[in-house]
Chain length 329, copies 2
């Protein structure tokens, strides 16, 4: 690069007190207004974190080595940075910010690191789990909009562990996907399938995130749950999960995912469901009525929440597509 | 883990507004008071960053994938997380906080990612660079304490690039260390060696950090410099570098390292140095007088700075070993 082309404002002798404004200034050469704002806040908070903790060089190096380890252990089937985000409460926070839910809609929760893109499409009534040791569970769900109308042809990703609390990708010598499937809701907004009753399990804790949890005297367990993800054009992408009531970890989820509205009871099929779905009357049954929100309603709510939050902060920003960017007027 | 042993305060239904206090509460099971404080500030700033930017799920995932890439490219000879910290101004900030310098002492600067532990010990007068294309440079330095007394037997790590701007470790097929050495100051606090005149060079920018710089319209160059690191019991560890005056990147260093007190002129040996050090009179010469600070003086200054900074914030903390921890009284 030709130094005469360098348009960087001159800077030298950077100190504890002036480094932040200088880094923000040099980064503001960026043309992407949104990225500029995100980086401005990132640099401000990163620097304030160091100033408020009086972070030592040794602690800084320990942190960088920790992050390096987190990156190193990541693979096609393990995402330790998502885990780290999960156990720091960042994942659930970002989901809550980006997918605000009006009353009456199904709440979202953490994606977790075990969603994959290899699940097979399955028709209504099929079995998603082939673990013979799992307790068979019939799952019958409806999918409606905020006005109570059924939504058909929604792509639904569903995933859960086997009876030992492991996802398929956690087995090095697996044959293919199991304990996961993709379904489509039918014309009446219904989808139903056979699964196994979820069990509590620890998030992977043999890596750097597990070491951190141990140092914090936190356990790595998640309460029993089954993941769901809903996608259809015109509707806000919903990532959620259903949790079993009275699970021993219901109020101490390692990744902060449990919401009361997502806690369910496992019942028995009884005569009606037994007949309709071809199971015995004492077969375990889980039912749930999911409610999706339209994109437009979500966008309006997101924009409104952004304005309220930024007004509180007194920041001179404008909201573009629901997200704040610097207001240079 | 036996759930009855779980001492975690019950939590559920975590929202944008209550997630932070809950994560801090669960992390406060940690017995290490310093770690508890560092994590409290980390979680607060991480969450505020997400709330102030209204971080979207897509941006969050882009960030996690970026960090994963940064981790993946790290190796024994490449530390991309240090690079990332450097270009965000965090490295120079942490050095300034942890190694405060009283007036009259030599200022510190960024360590950078190229210090290694394999340099060979070299006696006064030896050559640290074997690059025949480099411009030979005689370096003569003194090392004194704040009272002007020479300090002998200090371990001094010195490292620089070759004439093409690459450190030894950047060559896959190298034979061993070059352009780096370890020296010891003599009884009069002097150390001197033969090197090559430093050249400007880009930090490694073929990885994720380089992509980020490009997106920000920032160049990856560092002005010409030579690194020095000083260690002796009783003295504050000094990581610093000397920069050449009028380098094209003197005021736009990609990692914010240049300080006026560390900018030097390259002169000519002249008759006196030529005779004393066995070089020609027009041989390039660099001289510098380094001044180290005692541990006790640095610790007192660090503690004083911490108190001032924390008082300003109104935080209820106490200072232990110069670092803040929660004050639970």
């Amino acid at each position: 690069m030709d130094p005469s082309q360098v348009k960087i404002p001159p800077m030298k002798d950077l100190t504890v007190d002036n480094i932040t404004e200088n880094v923000i200034r040099i980064n503001s050469l960026c043309e992407d207004e949104r990225m500029k704002y995100v980086l401005e806040r990132l640099v401000s908070h990163l620097h304030d974190f160091a100033r408020e903790t009086r972070l030592s060089s040794q602690e800084w190096m320990t942190g960088l080595m920790f992050l390096t380890e987190v990156g190193k252990i990541c693979s096609d089937v393990r995402q330790e940075f998502i885990l780290l985000s999960d156990i720091l409460g960042l994942s659930i926070l970002v989901d809550s910010i980006d997918h605000p839910k009006p009353p009456g809609s199904t709440e979202g929760t953490v994606l977790g690191p075990f969603h994959t893109h290899e699940a097979e499409v399955m028709p209504n009534g099929d079995s998603m789990s082939h673990d013979p040791k799992g307790e068979p569970l019939l799952v019958v769900c409806t999918l409606k909009d905020m006005n109570g109308n059924p939504i058909s042809d929604v792509k639904i990703d569903i995933w859960e562990t086997d009876s030992t609390g492991h996802y398929d990708v956690q087995y090095a010598e697996r044959d293919g996907p199991d304990g996961r499937c993709i379904m489509r809701s039918d014309d009446s907004g219904v989808f139903w399938f056979k699964a196994i009753t979820p069990v509590p399990y620890p998030i992977p804790h043999d890596g750097p995130v597990g070491k951190l949890l141990k140092k914090l005297h936190r356990h790595p367990f998640r309460p029993s749950h089954m993941h769901f993800m809903f996608e259809k054009e015109g509707y806000d992408h919903l990532i959620t999960a259903l949790y079993l009531r009275n699970d021993p970890y219901e109020t101490s989820d390692a990744v902060f995912g449990v919401k009361d509205s997502l806690v369910v009871d496992i019942g028995k099929a009884g005569p009606e469901y037994a007949k309709k779905y071809g199971v015995s009357e004492d077969h375990a049954l889980l039912t749930y009525d999911f409610v999706l929100v339209s994109d437009s309603e979500t966008n309006a709510l997101r924009e409104q929440n952004s304005k309220v939050a930024l007004d509180k902060l007194g920041r001179k920003v404008k909201i573009v597509n629901g997200l704040p960017v610097p207001d240079l007027d």
